[in-house]
Symmetry: C2
Subunit: 165 residues, 2 copies
Protein backbone atom coordinates (compact mmCIF):
# COMPACT_ATOMS: atom_id res chain seq x y z
CA UNK A 1 0.00 0.00 0.00
CA UNK A 2 1.81 3.06 -1.25
CA UNK A 3 1.80 6.11 0.95
CA UNK A 4 -0.44 8.90 -0.30
CA UNK A 5 1.96 11.77 -0.47
CA UNK A 6 -0.55 13.80 -2.42
CA UNK A 7 -4.26 13.93 -1.64
CA UNK A 8 -6.85 15.35 -4.03
CA UNK A 9 -8.37 17.57 -1.34
CA UNK A 10 -5.19 19.36 -0.43
CA UNK A 11 -3.46 19.28 -3.76
CA UNK A 12 -1.62 22.35 -4.98
CA UNK A 13 0.23 22.29 -8.24
CA UNK A 14 3.27 24.15 -7.02
CA UNK A 15 4.06 21.52 -4.39
CA UNK A 16 3.87 18.70 -6.87
CA UNK A 17 7.04 16.82 -7.71
CA UNK A 18 5.95 16.79 -11.32
CA UNK A 19 5.72 20.55 -11.42
CA UNK A 20 9.06 21.03 -9.71
CA UNK A 21 10.77 18.60 -12.01
CA UNK A 22 9.28 20.19 -15.07
CA UNK A 23 10.37 23.62 -14.00
CA UNK A 24 13.89 22.44 -13.18
CA UNK A 25 14.17 20.66 -16.48
CA UNK A 26 13.07 23.66 -18.47
CA UNK A 27 15.43 26.03 -16.69
CA UNK A 28 18.31 23.63 -17.05
CA UNK A 29 17.66 23.20 -20.74
CA UNK A 30 17.33 26.93 -21.37
CA UNK A 31 20.51 27.55 -19.48
CA UNK A 32 22.67 24.95 -21.19
CA UNK A 33 21.29 25.62 -24.64
CA UNK A 34 21.84 29.29 -24.02
CA UNK A 35 25.49 28.60 -23.34
CA UNK A 36 25.66 26.36 -26.40
CA UNK A 37 23.98 28.96 -28.52
CA UNK A 38 27.13 30.43 -29.94
CA UNK A 39 27.88 27.07 -31.48
CA UNK A 40 24.24 26.42 -32.13
CA UNK A 41 23.69 23.11 -30.44
CA UNK A 42 20.66 21.61 -28.86
CA UNK A 43 20.66 19.25 -25.91
CA UNK A 44 19.57 16.34 -28.06
CA UNK A 45 22.32 16.94 -30.58
CA UNK A 46 24.85 17.09 -27.79
CA UNK A 47 23.49 13.89 -26.28
CA UNK A 48 23.86 12.09 -29.60
CA UNK A 49 27.47 13.21 -29.91
CA UNK A 50 28.18 12.15 -26.32
CA UNK A 51 26.62 8.74 -26.80
CA UNK A 52 28.68 8.23 -29.91
CA UNK A 53 31.86 9.27 -28.18
CA UNK A 54 31.24 6.93 -25.27
CA UNK A 55 30.16 4.07 -27.48
CA UNK A 56 26.79 3.90 -25.77
CA UNK A 57 25.07 3.69 -29.14
CA UNK A 58 26.39 3.07 -32.62
CA UNK A 59 23.29 2.97 -34.77
CA UNK A 60 20.24 5.16 -35.15
CA UNK A 61 17.95 2.61 -33.58
CA UNK A 62 20.29 2.21 -30.62
CA UNK A 63 20.31 5.93 -30.17
CA UNK A 64 16.53 6.10 -30.18
CA UNK A 65 16.17 3.37 -27.62
CA UNK A 66 18.83 4.67 -25.27
CA UNK A 67 17.86 8.31 -25.51
CA UNK A 68 14.15 7.50 -25.71
CA UNK A 69 13.80 9.63 -28.78
CA UNK A 70 11.49 9.38 -31.75
CA UNK A 71 13.03 7.58 -34.69
CA UNK A 72 11.75 10.03 -37.27
CA UNK A 73 13.13 12.93 -35.31
CA UNK A 74 16.40 11.07 -34.90
CA UNK A 75 16.79 10.64 -38.64
CA UNK A 76 16.48 14.38 -39.14
CA UNK A 77 18.76 15.14 -36.22
CA UNK A 78 21.39 12.86 -37.69
CA UNK A 79 20.89 14.59 -41.03
CA UNK A 80 21.84 17.89 -39.46
CA UNK A 81 24.88 16.62 -37.63
CA UNK A 82 26.03 14.84 -40.76
CA UNK A 83 25.63 17.93 -42.91
CA UNK A 84 27.74 19.77 -40.38
CA UNK A 85 30.42 17.10 -40.81
CA UNK A 86 30.33 16.19 -37.13
CA UNK A 87 29.30 12.58 -37.63
CA UNK A 88 29.33 10.09 -40.49
CA UNK A 89 26.83 7.53 -41.69
CA UNK A 90 28.04 4.21 -43.02
CA UNK A 91 25.89 1.33 -44.15
CA UNK A 92 26.69 -1.78 -42.14
CA UNK A 93 28.13 -4.73 -44.05
CA UNK A 94 26.71 -7.34 -41.70
CA UNK A 95 23.17 -6.07 -41.72
CA UNK A 96 22.46 -3.82 -44.63
CA UNK A 97 19.41 -2.31 -42.95
CA UNK A 98 21.63 -0.75 -40.33
CA UNK A 99 23.43 2.57 -40.58
CA UNK A 100 26.49 2.82 -38.38
CA UNK A 101 27.21 6.23 -36.95
CA UNK A 102 30.63 7.51 -36.07
CA UNK A 103 32.10 10.71 -34.73
CA UNK A 104 34.39 12.69 -37.00
CA UNK A 105 37.42 14.54 -35.74
CA UNK A 106 35.53 17.78 -36.02
CA UNK A 107 32.80 16.26 -33.91
CA UNK A 108 35.25 15.22 -31.23
CA UNK A 109 36.78 18.69 -31.20
CA UNK A 110 33.39 20.30 -30.79
CA UNK A 111 32.70 18.03 -27.84
CA UNK A 112 35.89 19.18 -26.18
CA UNK A 113 34.50 22.70 -26.04
CA UNK A 114 30.93 21.70 -25.22
CA UNK A 115 31.60 19.43 -22.27
CA UNK A 116 33.34 22.01 -20.05
CA UNK A 117 30.52 24.43 -20.74
CA UNK A 118 27.95 21.88 -19.68
CA UNK A 119 29.93 20.99 -16.56
CA UNK A 120 30.08 24.64 -15.60
CA UNK A 121 26.36 24.99 -16.05
CA UNK A 122 25.67 21.95 -13.89
CA UNK A 123 28.15 22.98 -11.22
CA UNK A 124 26.81 26.49 -10.98
CA UNK A 125 23.27 25.15 -10.74
CA UNK A 126 24.41 22.86 -7.93
CA UNK A 127 26.31 25.59 -6.14
CA UNK A 128 25.56 25.24 -2.46
CA UNK A 129 24.98 21.51 -2.66
CA UNK A 130 27.33 19.17 -0.86
CA UNK A 131 28.70 16.04 -2.47
CA UNK A 132 26.30 13.95 -0.40
CA UNK A 133 23.34 16.05 -1.41
CA UNK A 134 24.15 15.65 -5.08
CA UNK A 135 24.48 11.92 -4.64
CA UNK A 136 21.18 11.82 -2.80
CA UNK A 137 19.48 13.81 -5.52
CA UNK A 138 20.89 11.56 -8.23
CA UNK A 139 19.84 8.45 -6.39
CA UNK A 140 16.32 9.74 -5.77
CA UNK A 141 15.88 10.66 -9.41
CA UNK A 142 17.10 7.24 -10.44
CA UNK A 143 14.60 5.61 -8.12
CA UNK A 144 11.86 7.78 -9.57
CA UNK A 145 12.87 6.85 -13.09
CA UNK A 146 12.99 3.21 -12.14
CA UNK A 147 9.54 3.32 -10.61
CA UNK A 148 8.03 5.02 -13.63
CA UNK A 149 9.66 2.66 -16.09
CA UNK A 150 8.04 -0.17 -14.20
CA UNK A 151 4.71 1.59 -14.51
CA UNK A 152 5.04 2.21 -18.23
CA UNK A 153 5.12 -1.12 -20.01
CA UNK A 154 5.71 0.22 -23.51
CA UNK A 155 8.07 3.09 -23.95
CA UNK A 156 11.34 1.93 -22.49
CA UNK A 157 12.75 -0.42 -19.87
CA UNK A 158 14.25 -2.38 -22.74
CA UNK A 159 17.56 -0.62 -22.52
CA UNK A 160 19.30 -3.14 -20.32
CA UNK A 161 17.77 -6.34 -21.50
CA UNK A 162 19.98 -7.60 -24.26
CA UNK A 163 22.21 -9.29 -21.74
CA UNK A 164 19.61 -11.89 -20.81
CA UNK A 165 20.27 -15.53 -21.67
Amino acid sequence: MPKSHYKPDSFHLRDSIGYLIKRSQRLMQERIEGLFEQQNFTLQQWAVLMYLRDGLATTTADMCRNLHHDSGAMTRLVDQLESRKLIERRRSADDRRVVELSLTEAGAEVLDTLIPTACDALNSALDGFTREEVKTLQSMLRRLIGRMEELMPNSAAASDKEKVS
Copy 2:
Protein backbone atom coordinates in the same frame (compact mmCIF):
# COMPACT_ATOMS: atom_id res chain seq x y z
CA MET B 1 34.15 28.93 -5.06
CA PRO B 2 31.51 26.42 -6.07
CA LYS B 3 32.39 22.76 -5.77
CA SER B 4 33.02 21.04 -9.08
CA HIS B 5 30.62 18.17 -8.92
CA TYR B 6 31.19 17.44 -12.58
CA LYS B 7 34.57 17.52 -14.27
CA PRO B 8 35.03 17.55 -18.05
CA ASP B 9 37.51 14.68 -17.95
CA SER B 10 35.28 12.26 -16.15
CA PHE B 11 31.94 13.42 -17.43
CA HIS B 12 29.34 10.89 -18.42
CA LEU B 13 25.95 11.97 -19.58
CA ARG B 14 24.00 9.37 -17.68
CA ASP B 15 25.26 10.60 -14.32
CA SER B 16 24.34 14.18 -15.04
CA ILE B 17 21.60 15.77 -13.01
CA GLY B 18 20.34 17.41 -16.17
CA TYR B 19 19.95 14.08 -17.88
CA LEU B 20 18.23 12.48 -14.91
CA ILE B 21 15.84 15.37 -14.53
CA LYS B 22 15.00 15.38 -18.19
CA ARG B 23 14.30 11.67 -18.17
CA SER B 24 12.14 11.93 -15.04
CA GLN B 25 10.22 14.82 -16.48
CA ARG B 26 9.50 13.06 -19.72
CA LEU B 27 8.36 9.86 -18.02
CA MET B 28 6.17 11.79 -15.61
CA GLN B 29 4.57 13.75 -18.41
CA GLU B 30 3.95 10.68 -20.55
CA ARG B 31 2.46 8.89 -17.58
CA ILE B 32 0.09 11.62 -16.48
CA GLU B 33 -0.94 12.60 -19.98
CA GLY B 34 -1.52 8.95 -20.70
CA LEU B 35 -3.92 8.79 -17.78
CA PHE B 36 -5.56 12.01 -18.93
CA GLU B 37 -5.81 10.75 -22.46
CA GLN B 38 -9.36 9.53 -22.18
CA GLN B 39 -10.44 13.08 -21.47
CA ASN B 40 -7.83 14.45 -23.82
CA PHE B 41 -5.93 16.84 -21.63
CA THR B 42 -2.38 17.99 -21.72
CA LEU B 43 -0.31 18.95 -18.70
CA GLN B 44 -0.32 22.61 -19.69
CA GLN B 45 -4.08 22.68 -20.07
CA TRP B 46 -4.46 21.08 -16.69
CA ALA B 47 -2.04 23.57 -15.15
CA VAL B 48 -4.06 26.48 -16.53
CA LEU B 49 -7.25 25.07 -15.07
CA MET B 50 -5.55 24.51 -11.71
CA TYR B 51 -4.14 28.00 -11.60
CA LEU B 52 -7.55 29.41 -12.37
CA ARG B 53 -9.18 27.32 -9.68
CA ASP B 54 -6.64 28.38 -7.08
CA GLY B 55 -6.71 32.00 -8.12
CA LEU B 56 -2.98 31.95 -8.86
CA ALA B 57 -3.59 33.73 -12.16
CA THR B 58 -6.61 35.49 -13.54
CA THR B 59 -5.43 36.88 -16.86
CA THR B 60 -3.54 35.45 -19.80
CA ALA B 61 -0.42 37.48 -19.05
CA ASP B 62 -0.48 36.33 -15.42
CA MET B 63 -0.73 32.78 -16.58
CA CYS B 64 2.25 33.17 -18.91
CA ARG B 65 4.41 34.67 -16.22
CA ASN B 66 3.53 32.17 -13.54
CA LEU B 67 3.67 29.12 -15.73
CA HIS B 68 6.59 30.46 -17.74
CA HIS B 69 4.75 29.80 -20.94
CA ASP B 70 4.85 31.53 -24.29
CA SER B 71 2.12 34.11 -24.71
CA GLY B 72 1.27 33.12 -28.25
CA ALA B 73 0.97 29.50 -27.24
CA MET B 74 -1.14 30.55 -24.25
CA THR B 75 -3.61 32.35 -26.47
CA ARG B 76 -4.17 29.21 -28.49
CA LEU B 77 -4.35 27.04 -25.39
CA VAL B 78 -7.01 29.32 -23.95
CA ASP B 79 -8.83 29.16 -27.29
CA GLN B 80 -9.09 25.42 -26.94
CA LEU B 81 -10.25 25.41 -23.36
CA GLU B 82 -12.78 28.10 -24.16
CA SER B 83 -14.15 26.22 -27.15
CA ARG B 84 -14.56 23.24 -24.85
CA LYS B 85 -16.58 25.46 -22.49
CA LEU B 86 -14.23 24.82 -19.60
CA ILE B 87 -13.21 28.45 -19.12
CA GLU B 88 -14.58 31.83 -20.11
CA ARG B 89 -12.97 34.99 -21.41
CA ARG B 90 -14.25 38.36 -20.31
CA ARG B 91 -12.82 41.71 -21.24
CA SER B 92 -11.82 43.62 -18.13
CA ALA B 93 -13.66 46.87 -17.45
CA ASP B 94 -10.79 48.50 -15.59
CA ASP B 95 -8.16 47.83 -18.21
CA ARG B 96 -9.66 47.03 -21.56
CA ARG B 97 -6.47 45.42 -22.78
CA VAL B 98 -6.90 42.68 -20.24
CA VAL B 99 -8.91 39.51 -20.67
CA GLU B 100 -10.09 38.00 -17.41
CA LEU B 101 -10.27 34.24 -17.34
CA SER B 102 -12.64 32.23 -15.22
CA LEU B 103 -13.44 28.59 -14.69
CA THR B 104 -16.87 27.38 -15.71
CA GLU B 105 -18.79 24.77 -13.77
CA ALA B 106 -17.91 22.22 -16.40
CA GLY B 107 -14.27 23.14 -15.93
CA ALA B 108 -14.48 22.67 -12.18
CA GLU B 109 -16.15 19.31 -12.64
CA VAL B 110 -13.45 18.16 -15.01
CA LEU B 111 -10.85 19.14 -12.45
CA ASP B 112 -12.57 16.98 -9.86
CA THR B 113 -11.85 13.96 -12.00
CA LEU B 114 -8.40 15.03 -13.13
CA ILE B 115 -6.88 15.80 -9.75
CA PRO B 116 -7.31 12.33 -8.22
CA THR B 117 -5.80 10.83 -11.34
CA ALA B 118 -2.77 13.07 -11.08
CA CYS B 119 -2.39 12.34 -7.37
CA ASP B 120 -2.46 8.64 -8.06
CA ALA B 121 0.20 9.02 -10.71
CA LEU B 122 2.43 11.00 -8.39
CA ASN B 123 1.90 8.67 -5.48
CA SER B 124 2.61 5.59 -7.49
CA ALA B 125 5.76 7.19 -8.87
CA LEU B 126 6.83 7.97 -5.33
CA ASP B 127 6.01 4.52 -4.05
CA GLY B 128 8.82 3.46 -1.76
CA PHE B 129 9.69 7.00 -0.76
CA THR B 130 9.20 8.05 2.83
CA ARG B 131 7.61 11.36 3.77
CA GLU B 132 11.00 12.75 4.62
CA GLU B 133 12.48 11.67 1.33
CA VAL B 134 9.73 13.39 -0.59
CA LYS B 135 10.24 16.54 1.40
CA THR B 136 13.96 16.36 0.78
CA LEU B 137 13.42 15.89 -2.93
CA GLN B 138 11.01 18.81 -3.08
CA SER B 139 13.37 21.03 -1.19
CA MET B 140 16.35 20.12 -3.35
CA LEU B 141 14.42 20.80 -6.52
CA ARG B 142 13.31 24.14 -5.15
CA ARG B 143 16.89 25.02 -4.35
CA LEU B 144 17.92 24.04 -7.85
CA ILE B 145 15.17 26.15 -9.35
CA GLY B 146 16.14 29.05 -7.17
CA ARG B 147 19.77 28.80 -8.18
CA MET B 148 18.95 28.70 -11.85
CA GLU B 149 16.53 31.60 -11.67
CA GLU B 150 19.35 33.63 -10.18
CA LEU B 151 21.56 32.63 -13.06
CA MET B 152 19.01 33.51 -15.70
CA PRO B 153 18.32 37.24 -15.58
CA ASN B 154 15.62 37.31 -18.20
CA SER B 155 13.14 34.52 -18.27
CA ALA B 156 11.51 34.53 -14.88
CA ALA B 157 12.24 35.39 -11.26
CA ALA B 158 9.64 38.12 -11.61
CA SER B 159 6.89 35.94 -10.23
CA ASP B 160 7.11 37.14 -6.62
CA LYS B 161 8.08 40.73 -7.07
CA GLU B 162 4.86 42.66 -7.22
CA LYS B 163 4.76 42.84 -3.45
CA VAL B 164 7.73 45.17 -3.25
CA SER B 165 7.22 48.75 -2.05
